[in-house]
Symmetry: C2
Subunit: 703 residues, 2 copies
């Protein structure tokens, strides 16, 4: 039977394998053609902006991490502080790498698209794969090394929870700050450029245009990556922590989530291979019977591939990886010697993740009824557009909630049947989360591909590439919109399972014996918890407005003070706008961010550990709903506009289109700032509670 | 010591006293001048429309009540079915009376306003007082009579819960149906009348104009009345049911909420007297020292009274009643011989109710920052208007939640300290709800006054009364908007306390011993419960759109088929539009309404009674937040528009005003349909669970 250490070492090795792949793929992407002079200069500006953002952000982050690490070291243990720092660094590193390659792949994707749709896809997807595999590998590597170092003492897993807290803190900055940044730059650029100066979108004369392009990467690459880095790490940590209290066989239970992570790397690599493999590779032409089977399912992507074929290729890569997980996780369960029920639990997670992703796609795709109903409502003006979009967003919560509820119920039931305890049930919930995220390497690749294709389209537009190339980048971009919707579904679904798993781990760690709904502080805790996502969303939405206003002022200043800017002879100071967006975003996110860390601590110390459990339940439930609602309403408004732009209801410029633009603008902070930030809120609050679990008592209000 | 029966008999007598007052006030209001010919003919059309609505609605209701009563008689007990029918009839009766007088006071208010602001106020407030006192008296009378009939058997209180269920069912129709009705008529009238035909608002040629005016009464008088009828009845029932399980002294505990209701009638009558008293009354001129003190605080309302003086008069009437409650409830607590802690609990409820009302006013009044921030955002178009309004609505949830959480915490703590059990704590929560609603007679009067003044303004406008009179009715109307906001705060706050009290009663009645958060079905129950308000809101919002569409078709038909309608020589068929609005509203509310009744039953039977408790908690928490958010966002948008109409940011017709109109239109279904309907959803689900509590087992999924 495979015990904890053996499983962890396998995971460590797979983490290293992932990094080897990342290095190889990185070299491959960077060796691609960078296109002509104009393209390179635009790309350079975006890269410069991204560096400016990262250097500013990491300076603030360093201070934050140092302060929190000191607090942890002082009040809990230095080992936890070390794990916290490692988690922060690993997450930041993965985010840095993902963004580094994304802002270099955009121009290469545009150049490759000159040779065909399939070449563009390979470059952009390769970039996404680097992000996906870095997230998974950095996370596995960090956790396994810390586990092996601090192994032997009984508190080992308590220390390692610090890793999740560190990852969570970075995610907070990346998601909230990034979300504010991207929408502030977007709105700021539009308000002065399009409205006041009358220059087109993506015009290089606009000083905020680069900040806008940087924003896409900041929000959708770095933000999404950090978000899922955290879900991935925390679901494994929560499962391991719960496994540790599962009695006799606990070492096998601790090892299993790591082992699933390890086989997930293999499965994801196969999925990525299914998209990026080229016909002239040796491995593609091998006659070895195993490799023939291995190659049998690989999609043929050549110059004749249609858009639909490419979408199918992306989908099949996820399905291929999932199929491998089904087999590999059975082996993992057999090897660790735990009940076969846990294999079913992993499958439940896998199915639930794909189910939620499917629902998300249904509600946000313009080939389906919900988006069309919004487009129809656009005919009677912006008010009905907003009402119908809100109704669609609210309606779209139904199936994700039912899927999650059933997944939790079945997981708890399977765990309970296998090992007869509530803890086993909670362990199963955590394991379902691990299962949902096991193919993260490839699902994140299909997701992080999107913004690269989006940027490539912008570069093609700005550098006036031939019509045919721009059509191809547009096609790649629209493909990215579909995968982005799916990715958001995964991010939310996994956040909920992770938060609940962390809640279970917290309850175990805080040694709460009976957690009655009727405990005096429970109902107030739940109510306050349910309120926090509303407060948090209100803050982040207002923050976008404030930050955008500062950018408007800066853009106006540059147009006034830089000679020849409007005529195209003066060079705008892109970095200034980037700096202001960054600064504004980081400043505006301090209050909501601090709130996420401080409120659980206040409630835990003042109202006690039971109230804190109530708080977490309330926040998770209402945060889940609000996040799904806002993300899907935003996505649906966006695509209703795109649907009208295909010529429906009068097409571009019609009254219906104007109403749709209002919907889209309202949806921007919904789907790119407030909604996704809630993923972090619910996880961060849970992990803060878990890390500080041992410090909470029964509160000042004891009965 | 006062025992249950004595307290109940006192409450019965006070109920009768209330009805005597209602009869007297009704005679007084109806004897007022009805104005000129034109005014009377407009009023007659509104009255005709209201009758048409009521006759249709009550036909559907009778079928619904009969079916549910049969189910209750078959599966539970015939006594419960009787109580259910009585509750439904009592609520419907109060609603009928309130609406009957409201549609007759509107024209009399307009006529009285010719003689002065204060005369208009007295008539409109008198109409509100009839609504307020009928709700309180009918409820007390119904409950006490049933209590006395079914007294003696141990199940007596279980039977009487049927009264709350009956009231709840009527409330569902009144709120959801009324909410859909009023907004469908509003939108339908505008779309054809203003947009297609170019005739002004409130033009008598528009066949839907009467439906629109009827709608105001349907939603804001009958809907609000039924909503609070239910809160009032259910909070008393829940307290009594919980009191019954409080051991030795249980008879005193059962009696106390009835006694508070009884003294509340007295206090409310004093509050109403403070506004309506005229100087030539004998009682006003009495030299009896008690009556001199009694008169000392009565506001002098004469022809010189300013608008601010009138607002103060309304506020002082609520404060005067509250002050009396402080004294009377101390007597009640001393008479029943329970711990003084329960007196504090009543005060907590009273303070919490006023606190929530104050916050609601702050967030929706255009003299305060939140509404001004929305008006400012209107300058940059409809999108920023919607974003800022949503942010304000979300932000406005913070204090109502904190106030409620503290009220619950303190109540549980006080109850627990007094009688050392969790049930005592829950009893205290229910009692806080009773305390919050103890002054309902007068708070509802200030609230139901609003739509009467609104209608009076419409009648004054349509019948071209002198400028001076219209200014007065406008002033009375704006006063009504302020009190309406306060009333909405009370409705939501009391709904939450009532729902939690009913939850407590359900848990006791279902004999759930340990209700752990970690029970396998609890988390899925909470998640599904939290989702229901989103689903419900999505349905009711879509319903408004569908019903409005049917009215558009009918109005178009009448303009085509009735000769001379546009020229003013043909008479429009108002009743047809009223009928279609009614039918549409009742049809569209069937699915969401049925859902509210059926889902708790399904969850209770399939997932078991623990999951049902989780479901109720989830629904209450997320329903509370969504209701506050939608009501306040809607109110804030409405007043942001009004603020701009005072000349800010370009005033009427400016781009900012156009953006504000979009916000106001989005806010309409938020604040008048979906938001208030959630009050009913959370209470109805709780009371259905309580009524069927004994029938639920541990579900099909036992572990």
């Amino acid at each position: 039977m495979l015990q904890a250490n053996a499983s962890v070492i396998i995971a460590l090795l797979m983490g290293i394998a992932g990094i080897v792949y990342v290095k190889w793929q990185l070299k491959r992407v960077l060796s691609c053609d960078e296109g002509n002079e104009t393209m390179r200069s635009i790309a350079a500006a975006i890269q410069e902006g991204a560096s400016a953002f990262l250097s500013r952000e990491y300076r603030v982050l360093a201070i934050f991490v140092a302060i929190v690490a000191a607090i942890i070291a002082a009040f809990l243990a230095w080992q936890t502080a070390v794990c916290f720092v490692v988690g922060a660094v690993a997450s930041a590193g993965a985010g840095y790498l993902g963004m580094y390659v994304a802002v270099r792949s955009n121009v290469r994707t545009a150049a490759a698209a000159s040779h065909g749709l399939h070449q563009g896809l390979r470059v952009a997807f390769g970039s996404g794969a680097i992000m996906g595999m870095s997230v998974v590998s950095f996370s596995l590597l960090g956790m396994t090394i810390l586990f092996l170092i601090f192994s032997g003492s009984p508190e080992q897993l308590t220390y390692v929870t610090g890793f999740g807290f560190g990852a969570s803190s970075i995610a907070l900055f990346a998601r909230v700050g990034g979300g504010i940044y991207t929408k502030a730059a977007d709105v700021g650029a539009d308000l002065v450029g399009k409205v006041e100066k009358g220059i087109p979108e993506d015009d290089p004369r606009n000083p905020a245009v680069i900040a806008d392009n940087v924003g896409d990467n900041v929000g959708d690459v770095a933000g999404m990556g950090a978000d899922l880095f955290e879900s991935y790490s925390s679901s494994i940590i929560a499962a391991a922590a719960l496994g540790a209290s599962l009695g006799a066989n606990s070492l096998a239970f601790i090892g299993l989530p790591f082992l699933i992570g390890a086989v997930g790397v293999l499965a994801s690599l196969y999925g990525i291979y299914m998209v990026t493999a080229e016909d002239n590779w040796k491995i593609r032409q091998s006659t070895n019977p195993v490799l023939v089977l291995f190659n049998k399912f690989v999609t043929q992507i050549d110059e004749t591939a249609s858009l639909q074929a490419l979408l199918d290729a992306l989908r099949r890569s996820v399905w291929g990886a999932s199929a491998l997980i089904v087999v590999f996780s059975l082996l993992a369960v057999l090897l660790t010697g735990v009940s076969l029920n846990y294999w079913f639990v992993i499958l439940v997670g896998l199915v639930a993740g794909n189910g939620i992703a499917y629902v998300t796609e249904y509600y946000t795709s313009y080939t389906e009824k919900p988006v069309k109903s919004i487009a129809e409502a656009c005919q009677t003006g912006p008010a009905t557009t907003i009402i119908q979009g809100t109704a669609v967003g609210m309606m779209s919560t139904v199936f994700p909630v039912l899927i999650t509820a059933v997944a939790i119920l079945v997981s708890i039931w399977l765990g309970h049947k296998a090992d007869g305890s509530i803890t086993a049930g909670l362990y199963a919930v955590a394991l379902a989360g691990v299962g949902m995220l096991s193919t993260l390497g490839v699902t994140l690749a299909t997701d992080a591909y999107g913004p690269v294709a989006d940027n490539a389209g912008g570069i093609a537009e700005m550098s006036h590439l031939p019509e045919e190339v721009r059509q191809r980048t547009d096609a790649l971009d629209s493909l990215g919109n579909t995968t982005a919707a799916t990715g958001k579904g995964f991010a939310i679904g996994s956040a909920v399972l992770t938060a609940l798993a962390l809640l279970g781990a917290y309850i175990t760690a805080a040694k709460i014996d009976s957690l009655s709904i009727l405990a005096p502080t429970m109902l107030p805790g739940i109510l306050i918890g349910a309120m926090l996502p509303f407060l948090f969303s209100a803050m982040t939405m207002s923050a976008v407005g404030k930050a955008a206003y500062n950018i408007v002022l800066e853009v106006r200043r540059q147009f006034q003070e830089i000679p020849g800017l409007m005529e195209g002879t003066g060079k705008p100071d892109y970095a200034a706008c980037v700096g202001i967006s960054t600064e504004g975003a980081l400043k505006e996110m301090m209050i909501p961010g601090t709130m996420a860390v401080v409120v659980p601590l206040i409630v835990g110390f003042v109202l006690g550990k039971e109230a804190l459990a109530g708080l977490l339940i309330g926040t998770t439930a209402s945060g889940f709903l609000l996040a799904v609602m806002m993300a899907n309403a935003g996505g649906a408004w966006d695509n209703a506009k795109k649907w009208i732009e295909t010529g429906q209801y009068g097409g571009k410029g019609s009254d219906a289109h104007k109403a749709a633009v209002v919907g889209d603008t309202v949806g921007d902070p919904f789907k790119d700032t407030s909604g996704p930030s809630l993923n972090i809120l619910i996880k961060l609050m849970s992990i803060v509670s878990l890390v500080f679990a041992s410090a909470f008592g029964s509160g000042w209000l004891s009965f």
